[in-house]
């Protein structure tokens, strides 16, 4: 049996568990926690310390490669005085409770991963929890050794007394667990200057388990008696089963049941669930072969004829019509009429898939009284809500355990996979492990929205941008969100405070939604990827058309150092000075302006994503046969106070290669209502042979409040590459995939 199925629920009830113990310390309230539904007076079973001084930290953010296991344990360990060498990390089982008014709230701490929020949400929460835990150890040591508590400190896994004597946290743990913090105790957090752990580079905690193939992922989990379930889903968006014949499948040895999945009311469930037939068998191979024998007549639904080719044509047409004006500063028409020069270009972004490498999967066991869910989730909260809707059980009493994720990228903010698993277990009355094939995964994604962007700028005689208009026609992410009003659909696809808003006097953002059957969802740095590509490419085109240096034009447009209001996620402000600083830093690393051999050039771009500032300079070489190679990328990132610089660098590097992979080759193609390129032999993802050969990242540390770093590296990459290509060989690519 693998680790995740040992019930931690039992051991949460007791202080002692196989010689180890659980520290339960009141959580202090953090300013950032106030607007979550939140953590008041919660108890924190966040760590377990054994006699040998080993510390297990239970992480409240599902780990999907973004490095929060390491960064969050660092926050806690810093204040506790633990030694990171002794710290290991496991996922915290999902815990809810009812407060006094009966409202459901977190039992321990908010548990979620998305939007690069794990660091900002936990920065104070976990340091306070660590400091509270430390106080219990100091109290234990003070009473054990009759010492004055003020003379004690904790560091590197030991409580240190004034005479230099050291006692390990492990030794004190049993006694510490019996202490109670004094009424109204408020911990004093360490000064930044005294940090021993935060701000220092730490490698991934689980590296050894990963390189030796330990079972960490949902796909690796086992559950007693679980059968493998596989679903034949409608190949048509919003299609459903009209009739089916499963007799052949049912006659196969090793096949247990075949059940039809009802298509639930999407408004009630707020997710997309495909109609289909589930086969339940002893193992993957039997389930897959049985699934192939199903004879299903599909009700093709409203999108049977849909194609992405038609969708792009429709966007072209709609771009000619006015859209909904979502931001309007000054007088765009007049400014354009007065401009010395007008520049206008259209950019096209396709639908793309998350294609996280671990296909969707989930274990579920629904009995008459209990619901257990084990699997890869970014949002166990949404998994529990869906399970409640399906089973009718109180979600407070469910046993939900998220595993490590073989990639998230926003895909597993949606809980369609957990809902399917719960539904199948409920219908079959069997514990099941649902496994999606890659084809299932690429066909049934919540795709990143596509769109056509028209940008128009008016420039005066001195090269100042005096008018800016951006019209996006695209498939809105909010299209299937319950009760989303048509006039609010733009909100997830065009962020009205994004640069250059507030910096160009006459500015207009326009939006036209296009309906398409494919579900849309959040994809790493959601709309920032598309918008950074078009805006940062377009600024370069303006620079070229008006003979200005692309970096200088950006700095000029950012203007005076000022904090502009920013009402969307990542706000409340956008700091033009911090943006200019990362652009200059990346340019300095790259030796911007240096002489390069013909066919080689630099391109620059910078973008503000979810509170973080990142700029890239890409160095490209044009190769024969219309090919090119990104030889090097220089990047600078400012995410405020840096918790784990090594983690930040890794995220920027990963974002750069991920951004290149997506821009180069990825697009989902739909014909006759069906996704055509449903495996990696047809959906082009980058391999090492096209990857960026070398990357240099500068992390700008500051005292600004910290934000995560998982998404900021992606948006500036594609425009930096496009701009470099334009500089290297007069090739201006205004579409993704850039290789198409």
């Amino acid at each position: 049996m693998n680790a995740a199925i040992n019930s931690r629920r039992d051991f949460l009830r007791y202080s002692f568990y196989s010689g180890a113990l659980l520290i339960a310390a009141p959580l202090s309230f953090s300013s950032r926690a106030e607007n979550l539904d939140s953590a008041v007076g919660a108890i924190t079973p966040l760590i377990r310390i054994a006699q040998d001084n080993s510390v297990v930290f239970y992480s409240p953010s599902p780990e999907m490669g973004q490095g929060t296991n390491t960064a969050l344990s660092m926050l806690f360990a810093e204040e506790l005085g633990a030694d990171m060498k002794n710290v290991s990390v496991e996922p915290l089982p999902y815990e809810l409770k009812r407060d006094d008014e009966g409202k459901i709230t977190w039992k321990v701490i908010p548990q979620f991963a998305g939007g690069s929020t794990s660091i900002s949400r936990n920065y104070e929460l976990l340091r306070n929890a660590g400091a509270n835990a430390k106080q219990l150890f100091l109290m234990a040591a003070a009473s054990m050794f009759k010492a004055n508590i003020d003379s004690l400190s904790a560091e590197n896994g030991y409580v240190v007394m004034s005479n230099g004597r050291k006692v390990s946290l492990g030794y004190l743990a049993e006694s510490a667990a019996k202490q109670t913090l004094p009424e109204g105790f408020k911990p004093t957090l360490k000064d930044k200057d005294d940090w021993r752990i935060i701000g220092k580079p730490h490698n991934t905690q689980e590296a050894i388990d990963i390189v030796t193939g330990k079972p960490l992922y949902g796909m690796d989990m086992q559950y007693p008696g679980a059968k493998v379930a596989m679903v034949q889903r409608s190949p048509y968006f919003d299609g459903d089963v009209e009739s089916f014949d499963a007799s052949e499948a049912l006659a196969m040895p090793g096949v247990h049941q075949v059940v039809r999945l009802p298509r639930p009311d999407v408004n009630k469930y707020y997710t997309y669930l495909a109609g289909g037939i589930a086969v339940i068998a002893d193992d993957f191979w039997t389930a897959k072969k049985a699934r192939e024998t199903l004879k299903i007549k599909w009700d093709k639904g409203p999108y049977a004829e849909a194609s992405t080719a038609d969708l792009h044509k429709k966007c072209d047409e709609l771009l000619k019509e006015p859209g909904q004006v979502v931001r309007n500063d000054g007088d765009i028409k007049k400014a354009l009429a007065n401009a010395a020069q007008i520049i206008s270009h259209t950019y096209k972004i396709p639908l793309v898939s998350h294609a996280q490498l671990e296909p969707q999967n989930c274990i579920a066991h629904v009995t008459d009284s209990k619901c257990t869910i084990i699997g890869p989730m970014q949002s166990p909260g949404s998994a529990s809500r869906l399970a409640e809707a399906i089973t009718g059980f109180d979600r407070v009493n469910m046993d939900i355990r998220y595993t490590r994720l073989g990639g998230g990228f926003g895909r597993r903010l949606n809980s369609d996979h957990t809902a399917e698993a719960v539904m199948i277990s409920k219908l079959s009355k069997l514990p099941i492990k649902l496994i999606w094939t890659r084809e299932d995964d690429l066909r049934n994604d919540f795709y990143r929205p596509m769109g056509h962007h028209q940008l128009t700028a008016g420039v005066d005689d001195s090269g100042n941008v005096i008018a800016w208009s951006h019209h996006l026609v695209g498939t809105p992410k909010y299209y299937r969100r319950n009760n989303a009003k048509p006039e609010e659909l733009f909100g997830a696809d065009i962020y009205v405070d994004d640069f250059p808003a507030g910096r160009v006097e006459n500015l207009q953002y326009e939006y036209t939604p296009v309906t398409f059957g494919a579900p849309q969802g959040s994809w790493r740095a959601p709309a920032h990827t598309a918008n950074a590509f078009v805006v940062q490419s377009f600024i370069d085109e303006i620079a070229r058309a008006t003979n200005q240096d692309p970096l200088a034009l950006r700095i000029k447009m950012l203007g005076e150092h000022e904090e502009l209001p920013y009402a969307q996620h990542g706000g409340p402000t956008f700091d033009t000075g911090r943006m200019a600083a990362v652009l200059k830093k990346a340019a300095q690393l790259a030796n911007w302006g240096k002489k390069m051999p013909s066919g080689n050039a630099l391109g620059i771009a910078g973008h503000f994503t979810f509170g973080g500032y990142c700029a890239c300079v890409a160095e490209v070489s044009i190769k024969p046969n219309n090919r090119f190679r990104v030889n090097k990328v220089y990047a600078a990132i400012d995410v405020g106070t840096v918790v784990n610089p090594e983690g930040v660098i890794a995220q920027v590097e990963g974002g750069i290669n991920d951004g290149l992979s997506t821009a180069l080759g990825q697009q989902i193609i739909v014909e006759n209502g069906q996704v055509q390129n449903d495996n990696f032999d047809r959906y082009n993802m980058m391999r090492i042979g096209d990857s960026v050969i070398s990357i240099e990242v500068a992390v700008v540390d500051s005292n600004a409040s910290p934000v995560g770093a998982g998404e900021m590296g992606i948006p500036p990459l594609a425009p930096a590459v496009a701009n470099a290509l334009a500089a290297a060989g007069d090739i201006r690519i205004r579409h993704h995939p850039m290789r198409a």
């Binding site: 490698n203 030796t212 193939g213 079972p215 990963g654 090492i688």
Partner: protein, 164 residues
């Protein structure tokens, strides 16, 4: 039915002869280190060594095997000593989500047998495993480092061999 060796243990192959080795490993002998990514031989997440060759196990039916020697990620380290590639992966902090990395490591250990001093071009041409997290740039550094470690060790053991 036929037998194979998996990580030095003899194992009887059971199940449909068209069942891919990947699923035999994962579900019949509980070696879940070998990953399922695509099932069509494209991503390399399922790479294992069969008689020393890197093979994508999702596309290798067990019926084709008899007497072969299979090594999976779980069997790569000897007596708890990590393979230099595994060590380099830790030292260079390569993994992000980590899901591709077992397959990467199996592909690269086999690659380094053929190319003990690989150039960047060799890497670009012969390594085709997929990493969605984009760890390629670190991987490249770690490959060069591991290759140097292996060469140095090989040189040492050769010297020892000569002097004894």
């Amino acid at each position: 039915m036929s037998e194979i060796t998996i990580n030095n243990k003899t194992v009887k192959l059971e199940g449909d002869s068209d069942m891919p080795l990947l699923w035999f490993l994962r579900e019949k002998v509980a070696l879940t280190g070998t990953k399922f990514g695509c099932g069509v031989g494209s991503c390399g997440a399922c790479t294992v060594h069969i008689d020393g060759q890197p093979i994508r196990s999702c596309s290798m039916p067990i019926g084709n095997l008899n007497g072969n020697n299979v090594v999976t990620i779980e069997g790569l380290s000897r007596q708890d000593k990590l393979h230099p590639v595994q060590q380099a992966w830790i030292d260079f902090n390569v993994a992000q989500c980590g899901y591709c990395q077992a397959g990467q490591i199996m592909a690269i250990t086999a690659f380094l047998e053929r190319f003990p001093s690989p150039s960047d071009d060799d890497i670009d041409t012969h390594l085709t495993n997929l990493c969605r997290c984009g760890t390629y740039t670190r991987m490249r550094k770690a490959i060069h480092h591991a290759a140097a470690q292996i060469r140095a060790k090989g040189a040492t053991s050769q010297q020892q061999g000569e002097s004894s």
